[in-house]
Amino acid sequence: MQELQSAFWEAGRLLLTFDSDLTEIVFLSLRVTLSAVFIGCLIGFPFGAFLAVARFPGRTVIVVIVNAFMGLPPVVAGLFLYLLLSRSGPLGPLALLYTPTAMIIAQAVLVTPIVTAMTRQVVEDLYQEYDEQFRSMGLFGARAVPSLLWDARYSLITGALAGFGRAAAEVGAVLIVGGNINHVTRVMTTTIALETSRGNLSLALGLGLVLISLSLLINAAVMSLRGSAKRLAYV
């Protein structure tokens, strides 16, 4: 109980004094996660839409695999990437291990299946609705994807947010491929893990509160976007 109380104090202190270490860590966290979400959407939106409209043998298998990968344990993703990026690994010469870039890749691996699966669902529903009308205009198959994606834009944001949540919350992947190096690859979640292992529970919890607040802020901002959209009947 006392820990929880002091956690709130810690969170407040950190935020109000703009603790420079904290600022650095927060910026890196945002950079890594937002980049990962960006990449995840870049791949996930068109891929998910493609899966929604295309019909080919093996499609169901791919859909099942994508859905399963939504639950890929971050530490497993991190481990796998470590083996790829290690100097002894196939991509060793790229010297990506223990850099923010490796962390972005790791998180993108976690985010992409989520965005893909949610995009597929949303676009599939939309496609069913628009199918006849589109076909009557000569628009079908892959050609319909851009129209569908744009029309689904507000629902796709939910997919992106889900991906963001997953990436912002994970620690296993970035810990292994980033190495939690001070001032280089230390992000919010790995700092929380570190401070916990140091027994600085209040500080760790305080950082956790900061992380949650950040997530709340971003979700609120996006929700307000969607809110106005709903009123405009765009959803």
């Binding site: 950079r31 937002l34 100097r87 002894s88 223990y98 870039t101 834009r153 140091r198 529970l201 106005s228």
Partner: protein, 279 residues
Amino acid sequence: MNRTFTRRFVLAAAFAGAAAVSLGQAVAADMPFITVQSTTSTLNSGLYDYLLPIFKKEKGIEVRVVAVGTGQAIKNARNGDGDVLLVHAKSAEEKFVADGFGVKRSDLMYNDFVIVGPADDPAGVAGMSDVKAAMKKIAGSEAPFASRGDDSGTHKKERSLWKAAGVEPSGGWYRETGSGMGATLNTGIGMGAYVMTDRATWIKFGNKGDYQIAVEGDAAMFNQYGIIAVNPEKHPHVKVKESQVFIDWMLSPAGQKAIGAYMVDGKQLFFPNADKAGS
């Protein structure tokens, strides 16, 4: 439509900007740096936060420490994912060099292990300085004991002490957490168990509860650190020059003095013992 489109555009631009900045960052590496594979207990002691800025200022080389479990640190170094290995598991280190992955192992510093326990001291070992006898008592009274159980230097040391005490620890009272030092302390304290920990971690630890050092001072609980350069013959990409600068400095009088100067709560945590003849 205009307003919402603008907002979306701004969001997209923000994403793109973040991506661009991150990529840019990956390219811009101004100061030369080396990567050191070390252990969580060393990191948690705060030694690196104290020592590395001094080194950086003197030699202009950034030292990036990846702190993981001992086993993982050695494995990483074997894979060439580090330029220097700095751990405290002498026989494993010697094997590392013997297998050709390290150039040479040098003694660097030592600290010691202690056994910490709850204030009510269920096994009655508080104040003892004979660790073997203390461990016999703990096993005898079946007081809970939390072990790291992760094959780390600390864990190997612990196991060797049990062996020396003639005890095979097993049963409900002996709990292997399979975790690092901090996590094991958290868990152990949470269940009122004795824990063997290195002094540095303990002094710095922030969640002591009512725990105190129960057993200390036995020469057998001596914890030796070694520093090794990763062998460029196995991994040509290793930064040989900068690594050697770092190792030389750590072993030099200046470095050794800095190690000894690190204090927490007025107590020295690490005792430099590099071979003055240049082991």
